[in-house]
Amino acid sequence: MNILRKAAIPIIAIIVFVLFWEWLVWVNGWPNYKMASPSDLGPAFWKFRWLFLQYGWETLWRTVAGLMLAIVFGTLIGMIMGFSRTARDGLYPLLVGFNAIPKATVVPVIALMFVGAHDMNTILIAFLISFFPIAVSISIGLSTLEPEYRDILRSLGASKFTIFRKIALPKTLPEFFGALKVAVTLAFIGTNLMEIVEPHGKGLGHLFDSGKISADYPLMFAVLIALAVLGIFLYYVVVYLEKIFAGWAERAET
């Protein structure tokens, strides 16, 4: 019953939203280049179904690859900043400054630096845009660890690494997953940015671009919907992992 309710509410919400959208387009008599209606999208999806699958997959795997890199690198930087005050003071302004650069301006730079390596370019942008929240959350999680937590193990002669593995790491997991939810969305934006700004014939961004060139407005809207679906999918994968690895923190919230 409860599971049914949980699944039913979002589904009903989506149906209501789609109906409202259809109604809005119909009532205003908008042509499809101004606003495509949901009933236009079905044919657009069907017509390009294989392209959607192929491009969707390209967007997906490159986003995930960039995100993985961001997790590894972000965790590493976060650990360095979390454990060393000096490193934190030194790295923080650099990171903030770097994060402040709009990534749209970095896209052409990266594209020039690694001409032709499309997959790598895309992954790199997804990574660059998403590692910041991960690094910050890990470093804050570690540096705000109450000293007593460290002391109970340190007083027994445990090594720094043991303390990290047994206490600091699990204790930081809730913050880490919080950041990962932001990062996964960002990485997705990064991938699409590269695909659209520097078109190289791959990913949903490219499909969007070709829709634009051939003035196929329903296709453009269909790409937007496909992107939303992928984004939701990735987000809930993270939520699912969070439940498994940091589910213990949930009770504390209420």
Partner: protein, 265 residues
């Protein structure tokens, strides 16, 4: 060697480096605790009591003087020490049982997993937490968490138990329950205990000796022998004997706070 005191601090002096220059915290501090004895340390807030526990645990080292455990100079943390703090610092993602088992995962020992669990269960039963082994810390009350934290401090059979205001955050009734439990633990387990506390009644009820520290930089201002018998009940705190000791300690604390003259006037 056998008559070496279990804990011994000789002429311990320590200062913290702060932005405003060095902050002297301990000055020429001497404390001796015999094997199996229970010593309480009281002193004004911020006088350096927690610093003292960190020095004994080998988490930091004094600028001058020496800290010895069982006659040996403390040069690093030792697995023969157990610690508990005001904050029970239980790991929320572990069950109570697995929290108590934590030290046995660090300290070298030749116990099998089932022996370890038996040991942890035995302690948990002793403090009245039987049946809560599989619960998460968030499902327990503050007093119960503190009991679990005591079990964790004792599970590896430390020679020295260091308690830094472990009952400070508990309400009066829970605190008195835990005093009783401390007595029972002392009865069943072998350890030498140094207890930091703000509560004079607690110090008199639990300890064989109460050390009063002066205000910062702290030095040993007074050592009071507690003359109550071994088996104590709460009512003992209301005997004339105990009342005298409490009055004496309260007076010493006031002197330590620098309010001695004010009082005499």
């Amino acid at each position: 060697m056998t008559d070496e005191p279990q804990i011994s601090l000789r002429g311990v002096t320590h200062a913290y480096m702060t932005d405003d220059g060095p902050l002297p915290v301990l000055r020429d501090l001497n404390i001796t605790v015999q094997k199996g004895a229970f010593t309480a340390v009281v002193g004004p807030s911020g006088c350096g009591k927690s610093t003292l526990t960190r020095l004994i645990a080998g988490l930091m080292f004094p600028d001058e003087g020496e800290v010895r455990l069982g006659g040996k100079l403390v040069k690093s943390p030792r697995s023969t020490v157990g610690m508990a703090f005001q904050n029970p610092v239980l790991l929320e993602w572990r069950s109570i049982l697995r929290n108590v088992l934590l030290p046995l995962e660090i300290v070298a020992n030749d116990l099998s997993q089932s022996q370890r669990e038996d040991r942890a269960r035995e302690l948990l039963a002793l403090v009245g937490l039987e049946g809560f082994e599989e619960k998460k810390p968030s499902e327990l009350s503050g007093g119960m968490r503190q009991r679990a934290s005591l079990c964790r401090a004792l599970v590896h059979r430390p020679e020295v138990l260091i308690l830094d205001e472990p009952f400070g955050a508990l309400d009066a009734f829970t605190r008195e329950d835990l005093w009783q439990i401390m007595h029972e633990l002392r009865h069943e387990e072998e350890f030498t205990c140094l207890l930091i506390t703000h509560d004079l009644r607690e110090s008199v009820f639990l300890a064989d000796e109460v050390v009063v520290l002066s205000g910062r930089p702290a030095t040993t201002q007074e050592v009071l022998k507690v003359t109550l018998g071994k088996d104590r009940v709460l009512d003992d705190l209301y005997t004339p004997e105990a009342t005298d000791m409490l009055a004496h300690l309260r007076h010493q604390i006031q002197i330590a706070q620098g309010r001695g003259e004010e009082l005499a006037a």
